[in-house]
Symmetry: C2
């Protein structure tokens, strides 16, 4: 039988991970038993939150176990089924992670409709990152038409959806990202303003003030946003990619008392608490993806053996839009 | 005519104020013109937020002007009236500040019922500090019965009301303060736990976790509370007395990313936005003050010339309960 390759965590990194923290393992492809399905993955997802799971620390998801597969989002096709709910050929999104073939008892498998959009979007603009943007902006940030929204990490899978959903809601949108190419893309997809944080201090770029800050970055960017927020502004606390590889605790923001003087609300959320909003999200956002009024990009790396490098690249900001690893056929 | 004495701001302090930053000035007592009332103050209020107003920085209230009276809360009696709404002998709370006699056109004067409680409580448990506790706990923190509430600065005017209102709402209450005497008083008035932050690190005292943190202190206490907050906990951001005299920006909290992982909400508020809740507050809380099921203490300094020292003492934590300066007769 042909093997299935998968990526295991080999060591817990200090600071930025390197490829030696991972190991490629070959295993046999199992046969599904009664009630089970075998999935051949087309894409696996690399996401910033996974960095936290590499540490041996209690958090909202348990840490990855040493010597075990890196779990996480993936999309693939059912290639053998002993489960009536999933026929062979069906596309499914699941959380079984960095492997070419996955065996499932059906729990946690989400059917994905590839007639509307490519399978890869089930991990991006129509998947967890898109839902993160939707829930964060609407349920946590409660944005209103006419408000100014600032999103950092704006050229990523979440950030680019945040900006475009905010535009659909009638907001003015400012985004920051880490290269001229990213900034150009943000302007192309309708951001009112976009800046490269290497070139322009955020505090300066936000001079006229903002109502909502969607934070993917933390640290000094959060400090700049606190300074720029208007009365009764909101901080949607989603991520802090500037800190995930830090070996020292961050010193910023040092102006947190502005939460009091400006009556700000800062609220954190985890998308997995909000899967009940998936249907509303897809109903509202999928049509915009289909007619290209909401756009997305993907940065695709080929081959499961390159998943660690893709993940490290993501942490270094090498992606535009959703970072994916293609590990199998993606023809629908 | 006898003079009225008042305290003016003489210099803007760096760090902890000293008495040389203030000056005592004698002025004539004016006669009320048509529509005006003359008030003889019984008590003036010294409050932590006033430290921020001594800096020349834009904030939620304008800075005190150099060479002008320190405005702020006071309670007194109308001694001459040319205004039909306020008869001579009426007790009123107002914001005209650190002076023995105040002239008012009636705007911003709040009648105070001294048959229910002494005039001094109009600046404390039944005034702005009490309302701050009420609005912060109920409207911002949305505490529920069975939750654990931690309040820092617990022996102050706001903190002692926070703890007791939380108890009335069926919460478990932990308080921290800066002396053994304060801690003993907190236990006496019904706090489930109380600790002296000099003796016990907050992180240790909060070991079993909290649902709501009412923050009067900021800095490292906020950091400890972030660590102790449970999932979906709330931070009621009210004050940061640990920082008001700081000459360097604070480095704590360094664990703010816990807002994301624990889905926390941190929200700031300013009591003056919530004066519409005064009637509900008095209806609910005044009966408890009257029957002593909600208790208060006052630390009273005599003589307007001692107001600067009282204020500095407040910033150094020398008060138990509400810090007041008696500047005139308080017989109702």
């Amino acid at each position: 039988m042909r093997p299935s390759r998968e990526i295991h965590l080999a060591a817990r990194p200090q600071g930025m991970p390197d490829t030696g923290d991972f190991v490629l393992v070959e295993v046999g492809v199992p046969e599904p038993a009664d009630g089970e399905v075998l999935i051949q993955n087309a894409y696996i997802s690399v996401d910033p939150y996974m960095r936290g799971r590499m540490n041996d620390a209690k958090s909202y998801v348990p840490p990855f176990a040493l010597g075990e597969v890196m779990t996480g989002g993936a999309v693939g096709r059912v290639v053998a089924s002993q489960n009536d709910r999933f026929r062979e050929g069906a596309w499914v999104v699941h959380n079984l992670g960095w492997r070419e073939f996955a065996l499932s008892d059906g729990k946690g498998l989400l059917p994905f409709d590839t007639t509307a959009a490519p399978a890869s979007t089930g991990l991006g603009v129509l998947g967890m990152p898109g839902l993160t943007a939707y829930v964060g902006l609407l349920d946590v940030g409660r944005v209103e038409a006419g408000e100014t929204v600032y999103v950092s990490g704006a050229a990523g899978a979440v950030g680019s959806a945040v900006g475009q959903i905010a535009k659909l809601k009638g907001c003015r949108v400012i985004g920051s990202a880490g290269s001229a190419e990213k900034v150009a893309w943000l302007k192309e997809i309708g951001f009112d303003e976009a800046f490269d944080y290497h070139d322009v201090p955020a505090r300066e770029a936000l001079g006229e003030g903002i109502d909502v800050y969607f934070d993917n970055v933390g640290g000094s960017t959060l400090e700049a946003a606190l300074a720029a927020l208007r009365l009764r502004g909101r901080i949607v606390a989603c991520g802090a990619i500037s800190q995930y590889n830090a070996t020292e605790p961050p010193v910023a923001p040092r102006n947190l008392f502005l939460v009091v003087t400006k009556r700000l609300r800062m609220e954190g959320f985890i998308v997995s608490d909000h899967f009940d909003r998936m249907a509303a999200f897809l109903n509202e956002v999928a049509p915009h993806v289909r007619d290209c009024s909401l756009r997305y990009r993907e940065t695709v790396v080929d081959g499961i053996q390159n998943a660690p490098a893709a993940f490290i690249g993501l942490l270094m900001g090498e992606n535009i839009g959703k970072m994916l690893v293609r590990v199998g056929p993606d023809d629908a």
